[in-house]
């Protein structure tokens, strides 16, 4: 089921793009990432909208009053919170849905890249069976796995003075960090759990994706970097990028938030 609905179509789309652009697998991954992002853009827009609503909710006087009122009754506080969510049309899970959708996409893409590059006989044999009949696979094999300085089917290292530097993993970690920081909603409330979670994600996600980039085929890193850059571009198009968040010691403009309330 997973193979039929995710991995096989992904593999075929990747091969189609590869064929159309004249045999550059790195460019094929980049274009495929853009395609995926375009398809999931409505979800991303919904996530941004939901995050904004959630931030406003956290800052609202109504919510702060309820917190004070039910300070000693956690059960009642949770109940009132849910009622308020319903009243304001906020879905508490809407803001993390696109992130969750990314997970099967990442997994499917990784399998597709490895399958299409077919670095082993077993993977080539499987690819032979899953490629749609209109492809003349014999004319495509072997796929060109070289892109810039990388072999897309292998983890990447740049050797300097005999030491392998994982340049791509560093770029993945850096772009993930930048994306998290500049797209993080501003918060004035030090007790805001959402803001705390975002801060933790901004710290852990670069490390996690950096680890993936360090360990797995560099084609996946190309996907991560492209995805991060497009993610920032998507936020920028919707006017939600805060570049000042990259400045060390930056504090959100509380007066602006208060004024907006």
């Amino acid at each position: 089921m997973w193979e039929t609905i995710i991995v096989n179509p992904f593999t075929n789309v990747l091969l189609l793009i590869y064929k159309l652009i004249g045999g550059n697998f790195g460019i094929a991954i980049i274009l495929f990432t853009i395609l995926i992002r375009l398809i999931t853009h409505p979800l991303m827009a919904a996530q941004i909208k939901s995050s904004t609503k959630m931030t406003e909710f956290q800052q609202s006087k109504q919510w702060q009053d309820i917190q004070k009122k039910y300070k000693g009754d956690k059960e009642k506080l949770a109940q009132e919170q849910m009622n308020l969510y319903k009243e304001l049309g906020i879905s508490p899970f809407a803001s993390c849905l696109p992130s969750i959708i990314q997970i099967p996409l990442i997994f499917g893409l990784y399998q597709s890249i490895m399958r299409a590059l077919a670095p082993t006989p077993g993977q080539l044999l499987i690819m032979t069976r899953v490629v749609y009949p209109f492809f003349h696979l014999a004319a495509l094999v072997p796929l060109n796995s070289k892109f810039l300085w990388m072999n897309l089917g292998q983890p990447e290292r740049v050797y300097m003075f005999g030491v392998g530097i994982p340049l791509l993993a560093i770029i993945v970690a850096l772009t993930t960090y930048v994306q998290s920081k500049v797209t993080m909603p501003a918060s004035t409330n030090p007790g805001d759990q959402g803001a705390q979670m975002n801060k933790m994600m901004a710290l852990y996600m670069p490390l996690l994706l950096g680890y993936f980039a360090l360990t797995f085929a560099s084609g996946l890193s190309v996907y991560f970097i492209t995805g991060n850059l497009i993610g920032v571009a998507q936020y920028a198009l919707l006017g939600k990028v805060n570049w000042r968040a990259l400045i060390p010691g930056y504090k959100p403009d509380t007066t602006a938030l208060v004024r907006n309330k």
Partner: protein, 355 residues
């Protein structure tokens, strides 16, 4: 919020585990390679290389003592005249093992990619082709004989062959190379219509045959690389052909098995077998033995008249190996790692490694 965070972290951890599984992908990476001497069968079958007693089917030794998931062995092992077993691994290393004990003699670690095909051993040299596009010539102590390994255009998955003058091999880049066996310099290179995944076979009268992923059996002149003849199969050819001095035999993805005469006097024949043919055929006296993906081993008379199928549990991708009066079959995804059949196709013993 805490629940959301935990869900996200949990899913990311699942992703890490799943990606980790993909990276090793042992079961899908390749299939076993098998060879034999007078006493033992040697099988490179995933995390271990095994020596199996040919009389009893019992395990004699395994290498390494403790398996590493990132180090699968699939390349067909090869024996040297001085009693070494040479086997490559997916960890880019080529190992020399003691055939009696499985102890490591030496390791060649200068290759940059997987060892997929087996090595060619001559009286004094090991010719080892790697997926890093290079052909290495090594002494029996594991040192380089050519100062610079021969650089081809693409990955080499098949074993090389040699006529003493040149070493011949094909690449995934659709080229057949002849390289001087002594100097490592290119004698000629020829382009064919598809990737070459398997090994060439030397024919008669200065000819060499290769099967291509484009589904063509190509005959070339060993002197200058010119294409002498091309025979079209119904689909891709994987591991390459075999020959018995009369015919050259090859199977394809559609299960079609072909005999093409090597001289003008023979008669061609074909047999439709059940399942894709991935491994090379084995010529065993006047019988041709070939395995199929559907788990059948076919014993075919060299005239193509008498076809006897034997069912072995699993898929047969590996080329069968002859060992005295036995033929060794290494199925994939079956219950056994190795099955020994006699001349009538009866199972003499089967080997399943102890955990």
């Amino acid at each position: 919020m805490k629940i959301k965070f935990l869900v996200l972290v949990g899913l990311l951890l699942v992703l890490a585990v799943l990606l980790g599984g993909c990276a090793t992908g042992l079961s899908a990476s390749s299939w076993p390679g098998v060879t034999a001497d007078t006493n033992y069968a040697y099988i490179a079958g995933g995390p271990y290389v095994y020596a199996v007693n040919l009389q009893t089917g019992a395990e004699v030794w395994r290498f390494p003592a403790k398996a590493a998931t990132s180090t699968p062995y699939y390349a067909t092992p090869a024996l040297t005249p001085d009693g070494q077993l040479i086997v490559g691994s997916f960890d880019h290393k080529l190992y020399s093992l003691n055939t009696q004990s499985g102890a490591e003699n030496w390791v060649f670690d200068q290759a940059k990619d997987r060892w997929i095909g087996g090595v060619l051993v001559t009286s004094d040299t090991i010719y080892a082709a790697n997926a890093d596009y290079k052909l290495y010539a090594l002494s029996f102590t594991g040192t380089l004989k050519w100062v610079t390994p021969f650089q081809a255009d693409q990955a080499i998955w098949g074993s090389p062959v040699s006529d003493g003058t040149n070493v011949y091999f094909g690449t995934l880049g659709r080229h057949v190379y002849a390289v001087n066996a002594q100097t490592g310099r290119q004698t000629w290179v020829q382009t064919v219509d598809g990737a070459i995944l398997g090994s060439p076979v030397l024919g008669l009268d200065n000819t060499i045959y290769v099967g291509t992923y484009g589904g063509v059996l190509v005959s070339l002149n060993t002197g200058n690389g010119s294409i002498l003849r091309q025979e079209t199969a119904s689909s891709w050819i994987w591991h390459g052909p075999a020959q018995d001095g009369t015919n050259v035999y090859v199977g394809d993805a559609n299960g079609k098995f072909y005999a093409f005469p090597m001289t003008g006097t023979g008669q061609p024949w074909t047999q439709q077998l059940n399942g894709a043919i991935v491994g090379s055929p084995l010529v065993w006296d006047s019988t041709i033995i070939v395995g199929t993906e559907s788990g059948n081993v076919y014993f075919i008379d060299n005239t193509g008249q008498n076809v006897r199928p034997v069912t072995v549990p699993g898929k047969i991708y590996a080329t069968p190996a002859a060992a005295g009066t036995l033929v060794l079959i290494a199925p994939t995804s079956g219950t056994n790692l190795l099955v020994a059949l006699d001349q009538n196709g009866a199972v003499k013993w089967s080997f399943t490694p102890a955990k």
